[in-house]
């Protein structure tokens, strides 16, 4: 049993409204590895947009050639237009794919880093977050980002590029007219687009709420059918649904009104065409613009507003993607750990000096703990619930960083060691074992360096026999390949502990910590197991956190904890110590 429910502390907790500032700078570390690809895909997309826009100019050239009565010229330009269309087709296919490909690679880096970091995060971090929240960040938010990259980003990028290149083209025809069109487009676009963007969020929230209210009423009423009939409340329930439906109608109509700001870009574009027509008519009359140039402007004005419309929608998606990115980045930042060079952890004495730890600043869970565990020793850590046994065990296993004092193995501070070194030397089995869905062999294979090939299996069976678990394995329907059910649910709690113990027996740690790890196993088996685990390696320290008198009896030494500190170490050397006395100090 865990003695403490970890209380979240302010610096560790992720919030629903993460910091969205400096996103680009914060995302940079995950982008740098993809620099070359990003540049290539941007270049291809730019050329694709360029050839699309150049097509516009070709239409203008055809018009001028026709008016000049130049048939070969007109046909040539039509051919060039077809060629540009084909080039734009090929390039935009490639560009579209490249943008997604590089975006997906970045998202993949993000999600794999997030999973790696969370899997290796400080245990306190995992304990202080709801599993659902972490799961959502690593799946839902990642999927949002990935969908954005897959569906919105290529279009967004090419729309922006098209706009820029179109403006450049128009300026080359006539800068005053281009400026006029730009002014009209920017003015109406920003007015309508921004109003839409401002109203969109509350509108869509209310719509979602109204829709879920309708669903909730229906689901609730159908679930309570009998009671509603008994109360003669059918009419009232239908009336209630009618009220929900009225709310939904109001929400939908608000949505229609909000969307009008966006669709309003259509008539704004139409009016821009009117303005351009008038200006172009004047320009052609004054001879500073050709008819072809006027046609180019008209096409540009029409398509620009279509682009602005999709741009506004895409920018909304971009906002949502930013929030998702911020949530993922804050997860990555919250789980970042400083790398240590490694301290060369060695087998040796485990020494604890003036150790302190607190979950909350005002209340220390451990204080002034001094211990010295010798090689080959089997030590029991006993004490009442809440005295800090499990917390101490987690610190000794390197899962929590001590707030004060130090833990040293073979003279080296364990916090200076790398994660890999700590994992190899310090191994812990908790009381509550959650297994991987799969077979026992799958679960054994999780142990570093353990494989379930032939030799691996032989070794596993041999070790199981040494632990006195041979019979248990033989009785299972498929031996080591027996399925354990979802998270081990088809095994009993005691059997799950057996799997966990067999798994660590395949390893060779310097310190083995069993935190109530045999509490659900019958006493005879537990005795065999604990002995065998100590016997398997004589140069190992075995620390057992235990309540049961029989476990305590077998110890070389008993360490008692009361109120977060070690009060007494008794060397028993074969002398029986009464568990109840130890428990209640």
């Amino acid at each position: 049993m865990s003695d403490h429910v970890a209380e979240p502390t302010a610096d560790l907790v992720l919030t629903d409204r993460p910091d969205e500032r400096n996103l680009v700078r914060r995302a940079m570390p995950w982008l740098v590895g993809h620099r070359a690809r990003i540049l290539v895909s941007a270049a291809v997309t730019t050329v694709a947009a360029g050839s699309g826009v150049a097509g516009l100019a070709a239409i203008g050239a055809v018009t001028d050639a026709v008016l000049a009565g130049d048939l070969p010229g007109a046909l040539t330009w039509a051919g060039i237009f077809a060629g540009l269309t084909l080039a734009s087709w090929a390039l935009s296919t490639l560009g579209h794919y490249l943008v997604i490909a590089v975006g997906e690679r970045v998202v993949r880096t993000l999600r794999e880093s997030a999973v790696t970091r969370v899997a290796n995060a400080d245990l306190r971090f995992l304990e202080s977050h709801r599993r659902g929240d972490l799961l959502r960040r690593m799946t839902g938010e990642i999927a949002n980002l990935s969908d954005f990259v897959g569906a919105t980003l290529p279009g967004l990028l090419s729309a922006v590029l098209m706009l820029v290149i179109t403006i450049a083209l128009l300026v080359s025809y006539s800068w005053p007219l281009a400026l006029l069109l730009l002014a009209v487009a920017a003015l109406s676009g920003s007015l309508l687009g921004l109003t839409f963007a401002r109203r969109a969020s509350p509108t869509y929230q209310e719509l979602a709420a109204a829709e879920s209210a309708v669903s909730a009423t229906i689901a609730e009423a159908l679930g309570a059918r009998d009671q509603i009939t008994m109360l003669g409340a059918r009419r009232r329930i239908v009336d209630r649904l009618a009220a929900d439906n009225r709310r939904l109608l109001a929400a939908r109509l608000t949505e229609v009104r909000t969307d009008r700001w966006l669709t309003g870009l259509g008539p704004a574009g139409g009016m821009a065409v009117v303005v351009v027509l008038l200006a172009a008519g004047w320009g052609v009359g004054q001879q500073w613009l050709s008819v072809g140039g006027a046609v180019v402007f008209l096409f540009a004005a029409r398509s620009a507003f279509d682009d602005v419309e999709s741009l506004v929608v895409d920018l909304g998606e971009l906002r949502a993607a930013q929030t998702s990115l911020a949530r993922i980045l804050s997860l990555l930042e919250g789980t970042a750990r400083t790398r240590t060079a490694g301290a060369g952890l060695q087998r040796g004495e485990l020494e604890v000096c003036d150790l302190g730890f607190s979950y909350r600043p005002d209340r220390p869970a451990l204080h002034g703990v001094d211990l010295r565990l010798r090689i080959g020793e089997r030590v029991v850590l006993a004490g009442p619930t809440g005295s800090g046994k499990s917390t101490l065990a987690k610190i000794l296993a390197g899962h929590y960083r001590p707030s004060t004092g130090r833990v040293a193995l073979g003279g080296t501070d364990i916090t200076a060691a790398t994660e890999q070194e700590r994992e190899r030397h310090l191994v812990m089995v908790p009381q509550e074992v959650v297994l991987l869905t799969g077979s026992i062999a799958d679960n054994l294979e999780l142990a570093p360096g353990v494989t379930m090939d032939r030799t691996g299996r032989d070794r596993a069976r041999e070790v199981a026999a040494q632990l006195g678990l041979g019979n248990w394995i033989d009785r299972l329907p498929d031996g080591l390949d027996t399925g354990v059910g979802e998270n081990g649910s088809s095994l009993s709690a005691g059997e799950r502990q057996l799997v966990a113990l067999l798994r660590v027996a395949l390893l060779d740690p310097s310190v083995l910590i069993l935190d109530e790890a045999t509490a659900d196993v019958d006493p005879d088996t537990a005795t065999t197991l604990e002995h065998a685990l100590a016997e398997l390696s004589a140069d190992r320290i075995v620390l057992v956190v235990a309540h049961r008198p029989d476990s305590i009896e077998r110890a070389d030494r008993v360490i008692r904890m009361v109120d977060g500190t070690v009060v007494d170490s008794t060397v028993v050397d074969g002398t029986v110590v009464d568990g109840t006395v130890v428990d209640h100090g």
């Binding site: 239409i59 055809v62 050639a65 026709v66 008016l67 007109a74 039509a78 051919g79 237009f81 269309t85 734009s88 087709w89 090929a90 935009s92 296919t93 579209h96 794919y97 997604i100 490909a101 999973v115 969370v118 899997a119 290796n120 995992l126 799946t139 990935s146 309708v214 229906i218 609730e220 159908l222 309570a224 009998d226 009671q227 008994m230 109360l231 003669g232 059918r234 329930i237 239908v238 109608l249 109509l253 229609v256 669709t263 008539p267 139409g270 009016m271 009117v274 027509l277 008519g281 004047w282 052609v284 008819v291 006027a294 008209l298 899962h399 994992e423 999780l446 142990a447 570093p448 966990a500």
Partner: protein, 526 residues
């Protein structure tokens, strides 16, 4: 629908007007003509937007109203239908909920698409003669282009669907890996087992990426092909148009009009194919909806008992028995007069609740249940509910306030006085609870009444039952969650509140037994 046709007509007119403006205004250099056409264009733009606004407004209103009507009648029918009928038509409550929510949505998507057909038809009706009028060969170009677009929008989605499905699978698999990693985290961290799990995750993450890229390859091609085809049409049109123009058949502005119309052709073909796809789904959903609505005709038929109330009639149970798997509850014979309390008692598991449920008509039973000279046994559940009210052991509250829940059993037409509500609460000893609630009667009870304790929910349900008009009250062990003092107050106040009612209890509490006029002892199971 009319709005959508007007909108599309104006939409199609815009390129035509622009073409004329170019020819008569710009090319001919006639400022008056240019101004005239610009004015026409402004009108067309305004009409187009007006039509669009009308279309979205009316289409959405109609859609929500149709959905509301469908859902309200489906809910009405589904609540009223006899359990046996319902079991024949649907697979469980989950399936029923799905039909009322998701299937209605699917049909609506199709209804929504109906207006698009009008748009497509308008487009065809306008463009075919208009383009033919310009030059028949341009119509041929348009036809080829539309055909290719149609082909593309049939071929691409078909190839896309399995890829998208594989991507969804890969994503689901990856989510599962993460869920498992989080579930086992505290265990596997003890020996460094997380590394293997991270490796497993990365393998499925790679799987996600390769599936995402497979989707992307197709979508990239699909996207640019959809854009390039009408452009190629425009190129062909330009060549044909230029040739025709130089023969004197076509004006420059008309070439521009044609180019703009090609964009519309693309949209129309895409819309047409996606509408065709919706039709199949909508038909299946419509059938599932119809199965629920068909229940109605059956529920209306039986009418053995009228809602008329007969004063002074007693409740008689003659040989009432219920068959359970392998044994039988009852038979029970009893006659209870108005103002009398009867209690069914016996050890746990002997069928006390079952007998109350039989009187309520929730389970099939043998024997006779009579109220005065009317046979309740042959009444529908609704008709029986007018006479009999059951407070079950674990009563259900609905989300909403205390008041909403109290009023649930009353006539929606009648206004219930505040004093009547408070009186019922007092009789049910719910007044003590009410005093402690932050907003009294207007306190929300939470989802399924989760804000109240079991005992509080039971008392609220008793108050709700007292507000019902029926002469018979069935109380199933309602005092079990109360302490002895509260129970005594409840019994005493209920006695005063039910002078004319027939009350049948199921209980093994001694205070209830002591308060009852009649006792029916059930024997233990054989």
């Amino acid at each position: 629908m009319i709005a959508s046709a007007i909108r599309q007509f104006a939409f199609l007119a815009i390129p035509y007007v622009i073409g004329h403006a170019i020819d008569e205004g710009v090319v001919a250099g006639d400022p008056a003509a240019l101004l005239r056409w610009c004015a026409v264009l402004a009108v067309a733009v305004a009409v187009e937007f007006g039509g669009l606004c009308g279309w979205t407004w009316w289409a959405n209103t109609a859609e929500v109203k149709i959905a509301a009507q469908l859902r309200e009648s489906m809910l009405d029918v589904a609540i009223g239908a006899p359990a046996a009928e319902l079991e024949n038509s649907v697979e469980g409550i989950g399936d029923l909920v799905e039909r009322v929510i998701d299937d209605v949505d699917a049909v609506l998507v199709w209804v929504h698409g109906l207006a698009t057909w009008i748009v497509i038809l308008t487009t065809v009706a306008v463009l075919v003669p208009a383009i033919f009028g310009m030059d028949p060969s341009l119509l041929a170009v348009t036809g080829v282009c539309a055909g290719l677009l149609l082909l593309a929008s049939l071929v691409f989605p078909r190839a896309d669907a399995p890829r998208v499905a594989r991507l969804a699978d890969a994503q689901g698999h990856r989510s599962q890996q993460i869920a498992e990693l989080l579930a086992t985290a505290l265990t596997v961290r003890g020996f460094g087992g997380q590394h293997r799990m991270v490796q497993r995750h990365h393998r499925s993450s790679a799987e996600v990426t390769s599936n995402r890229l497979a989707v992307a390859r197709l979508r990239a091609l699909w996207n640019s092909t959809g854009e390039a085809l009408p452009q190629l049409g425009v190129a062909a049109g330009l060549a044909v148009g230029a040739w025709s123009a130089l023969q004197g058949g076509l004006a420059v502005g008309q070439i521009a009009t044609f180019a703009m119309w090609m964009g519309t052709v693309q949209r129309a073909t895409t819309a047409a194919t996606s509408r065709l796809g919706e039709y199949g789904a909508a038909r299946a959903s419509a059938a599932r909806m119809a199965a629920v609505l068909a229940l109605e005709s059956r529920t209306g038929q039986e009418s053995a008992v009228t809602g008329h109330r007969e004063p002074g009639a007693g409740l008689a149970l003659d040989g009432l028995a219920v068959e359970r798997a392998g044994w039988r509850v009852g038979p029970v014979d009893v006659a209870i007069r108005p103002g009398q309390w009867a209690v069914i008692t016996g050890p746990t598991g002997t069928g006390k609740s079952t007998l109350l449920a039989a009187v309520m008509g929730l389970v099939d039973s043998h024997g006779e249940i009579r109220l005065g000279d009317r046979h309740l046994s042959s009444a529908t559940a609704e008709q029986r509910a007018e006479q009999v009210t059951l407070v079950p052991q674990q009563p259900l509250l609905l989300h909403g306030t205390v008041r909403d829940n109290l009023l649930l059993g009353t006539d929606p037409e009648a206004r219930v006085a505040e004093t009547d509500l408070l009186q019922a609460c007092r009789a049910a000893v719910f007044d003590e609870v009410l005093d402690q609630l932050p907003a009294g009667l207007d306190t929300p009870v939470g989802e399924r009444g989760a804000q109240l304790s079991g005992g509080q929910r039971a008392r609220l349900a008793v108050a709700r039952a007292l507000l019902r008009p029926g002469p018979v009250l069935l109380f199933d062990d309602i005092s079990s969650a109360l302490d002895v003092d509260a129970e005594a107050r409840l019994l005493q106040r209920l006695r005063t509140a039910t002078p004319e009612r027939i009350v049948l209890w199921a209980s093994h509490r001694s205070a209830v037994l002591a308060a009852a006029d009649l006792t029916l002892e059930l024997e233990g199971r054989p």
